[in-house]
């Protein structure tokens, strides 16, 4: 009578029961990868240098205005590189005062290249500040994209940082990938800028030089009849009156002609600035600029004290909705670039699932029949072990919340072929021991114990590969590594422990055993 038989039966029963528990109901517990349910996988690169430049540009503007506010005349303030601001004072006499003032007002910067006689100095962002800024840009980008995705409405999205400055976005079951991409990738930097109508934009567009303090932008207008796009040049002041940060809320509304527009509610502070700007500039044009494109440039009819602004333009309801989403979620700190994209349509995903089930079933039938024909009763035991192996494999995937991908299914199919290898090694060994004249029981004993060492060695090498594959791979390939590794681990339990148990139950109890079906 083999030892601890009931304990071993209990263990197998517990493992099987746990597996069924984790797996039930399978449709809910097994996570399908993007390649199976369709969806979009994006890797975005945040242009951190650009974000730093934008940030420094804004600081440079503040340096100028705060110096002027202090009565210190400035000749030139400009950004140098990513994170330096060169200041040229109008007169060298004010240098000392300016220096101590700037050090106090802008603690994130240190003074470089002081030149008192020339009235020059350079503000340079401290290295620690640069590091923390870089981190916060990526975090901010992550947060903004998460907000946008949440408002867009995707079930179970995944948004993660990857490496230094990359953001991985996975959106399963997306119907319109292009719209999602546009929504996520838009910087959505909103600015309100006054139009400078003293300058003829056509002349600037055809090559005249721009006076300082203004810039040339374009408004895209689509002719509703011909669908032709026209680009209308507009000259605006560089300095923005308001930005996206001043927007508290955004909503889509319809005007009398059923044309959608986006209505903005400004923050209290933004509303105050807006009221002031509209008071001072009645009759002028105010350009609403998003990511460097002018959306519209309405004339300021009167003072607007309510803190309400509108973005009109020739967009569809869907475009207006997406615009609302990006304005509400806020701007990305810098432009993002799509580094990698994988989109799988839902029909291909369904196709892949069908193919996956077909191959799994096909491989299982082929291997099960082979084992049955070649090893008869022992083959049947190996087949039972295989079934248990697949059950454990799927349950472990459900338990670890692993994702089943198409290559992952391939891993399952391969596991079918590899799991019975262990049984083949054991059975061949038992046959060999029988041939050398051992009794059935002795042959089973030495067959299992001798083959075990080899089995461990062969398992380790496959695990080494799977581990490296996991380290290296992305998405689907990682799924393959995971199933391969779990399948290999499970086969130690099923092909060795479980098979041995069944052998013990059949051959190791009661009276003498004369023959074995192997």
């Amino acid at each position: 009578m083999p030892r601890r038989l009931w304990l071993r039966i209990g263990l197998v029963a517990v493992v099987a029961a746990l597996s069924i528990f984790y797996l039930y109901p399978p449709r809910k517990t097994i996570n399908l990868g993007l390649d199976l349910q369709g969806g979009i996988h994006l890797v975005l690169g945040v242009d951190i240098d650009k974000a730093l430049q934008i940030q420094t540009d804004r600081t440079a503007e503040r340096v100028r205005s705060s110096l002027e506010g202090k009565g210190l005349a400035v000749q030139k303030v400009e950004r140098r590189g990513n994170s330096e601001i060169a200041v040229q004072l109008a007169s060298p006499q004010a240098w000392s005062e300016a220096q101590s003032f700037l050090l106090k007002e802008f603690p994130a910067f240190e003074i470089k290249e002081p030149d008192q006689s020339a009235g020059r100095l350079v503000l340079s962002m401290r290295p620690a500040e640069i590091t923390s800024q870089r981190d916060s840009f990526v975090r901010q980008g992550l947060e903004t994209i998460r907000n946008r995705v949440d408002q867009f409405g995707v079930a179970e999205p995944s948004i993660q940082q990857q490496g230094d400055n990359r953001i991985l976005v996975q959106l399963p079951g997306i119907q319109d990938p292009n719209r999602a991409k546009a929504l996520i990738g838009k910087t959505a930097h909103l600015e309100f800028k006054l139009v400078d109508d003293r300058i003829d934009p056509a002349a600037i567009a055809s090559g005249s030089t721009l006076p300082p303090g203004v810039e040339l932008l374009y408004e895209r207008r689509v002719d509703p009849e011909t669908k032709q796009e026209r680009r209308i040049p507009i000259v605006v002041q560089k300095k923005a009156m308001l930005s996206g940060a001043d927007v508290a809320d955004a909503e889509v509304r319809l005007d009398q002609g059923n044309q959608p527009y986006v209505s903005l509610t400004l923050t209290p502070a933004g509303g105050k600035v807006f009221a002031q700007v509209t008071t001072d500039n009645v009759g002028k044009l105010m350009a609403i600029v998003l990511d460097g494109n002018v959306y519209s440039a309405p004339r300021i009819q009167e003072r607007i004290p309510s803190g309400q602004a509108q973005i009109t333009g020739s967009f569809t309801l869907e475009q207006a909705r997406d615009l609302k989403i990006v304005l509400k979620a806020g701007a990305l700190p810098a432009p993002v670039q799509i580094l990698e994209e994988r989109t799988v349509g839902p029909s291909l995903g369904a196709d892949s699932i069908r193919r996956g089930i077909l191959s799994t079933a096909g491989a299982a039938i082929a291997v099960v029949l082979f084992m049955l024909v070649y090893y008869r009763l022992s083959g049947l035991i190996a087949d039972l072990a295989l079934a248990l192996n697949l059950l454990i494999l799927l349950a472990a995937m459900a338990g670890f919340r692993a994702t089943l991908t198409l290559p992952g299914i391939a891993g399952v199919v391969l596991t079918i072929g590899m799991a019975v290898d262990t049984n083949i090694l054991i059975f061949e060994r038992i046959r060999e021991e029988l041939r050398s004249g051992k009794t059935v029981r002795a042959a089973i004993d030495s067959g299992f114990s001798r083959a075990f060492r080899t089995v461990i060695d062969t398992h380790v090498t496959v695990l080494v590969s799977a581990a490296i594959l996991y380290q290296f791979g992305t998405g689907p390939v990682k799924g393959f590594a995971v199933t391969l590794a779990i399948g290999i681990f499970a086969s130690l339990f099923t092909a060795v422990f479980f098979t041995r148990l069944i052998f013990d139950l059949i051959y190791m109890r009661g009276r003498k055993v004369e023959s074995i079906s192997i």
């Binding site: 292009n178 990698e340 349509g345 029909s347 072929g417 060999e432 060695d457 090498t461």
Partner: protein, 310 residues
Amino acid sequence: MLQIFVNAKYDFVGKRRWFYVVSGGFVVLSLISILFRGGLNYGIDFTGGTLIQVRYDKPVTVDVVRRGLDQIKLGQAVIQQFGDAQEYLIRLHQAGESSEALSKQVVDALSRASGSQVEIRRLEFVGPQVGRDLQLQALYAVLAGMAGILIYVAFRFHFRDGVISVAAIGHDVIVTLGALSVTHREISLPVLAALLTIVGYSINDTIVVFDRIRETRAKGIRKGQNWGDLVNLALNQTLSRTVLTSFTVFLSALVLLLFGGEVLHDFSFALLVGVVTGTYSSVAAATLVMDWESWSRARSRASGKLHARA
């Protein structure tokens, strides 16, 4: 009882020169094919570019797809039928940028040229930087896999066995790459996964043989038995195992190739080739033990002589 190779008595060691010629030949042919085609044919995962899988609602010819694409200037495009004549893969190797406009543009142009509905089933864009990163990482991954196995086998068995194992794996990887090259297949991420699986799996049969060599040797060498007899005995005793274990995995890979669909086609093909060459190479590699031993004995004799003279 169904049995194969019972009491097999093949003289593998005596015929080992043939193994070396055959293996050497395949490796050289593989390398020539790879060189001839200007290096390994990396897919967009590794080079960067765009891959679009489209499905028409009725069968069309490659020319129709080509005509559609010619309307929009996308640069060099590779068009490949994917499964039936309704489905095509379009590869754009230019390192452009991913754009929302691209897929719409492609659908419009293809529909216009064919007069049928076109659906984009899959779109993959890999930026040039990501691709280049991956290419290097892929090489590291395969090398790391081989190094891991060298260390493990050397530690568990013998330094000799570790080196021979890695030589066998290298052979399998090169021959598989050669087969991919000859059949004009691309190296994509799934194919790399197949290669790494081969690295881990094809060594299994070799390990079974090494294990048997060690076991037989531990029992003590009988009179008149040399390394050649030992290796031959181990190989013949384990031959049924070697073939049977590979056969079940071969079956699985074959089913994947036949039923797994186009997306897994290259992956299954690489696996199938790898399993076959892995089985062959594990027999061939074991005979190297013989040469290693006689070589190291000759060397120690030679150095012994030198010592004696000195």
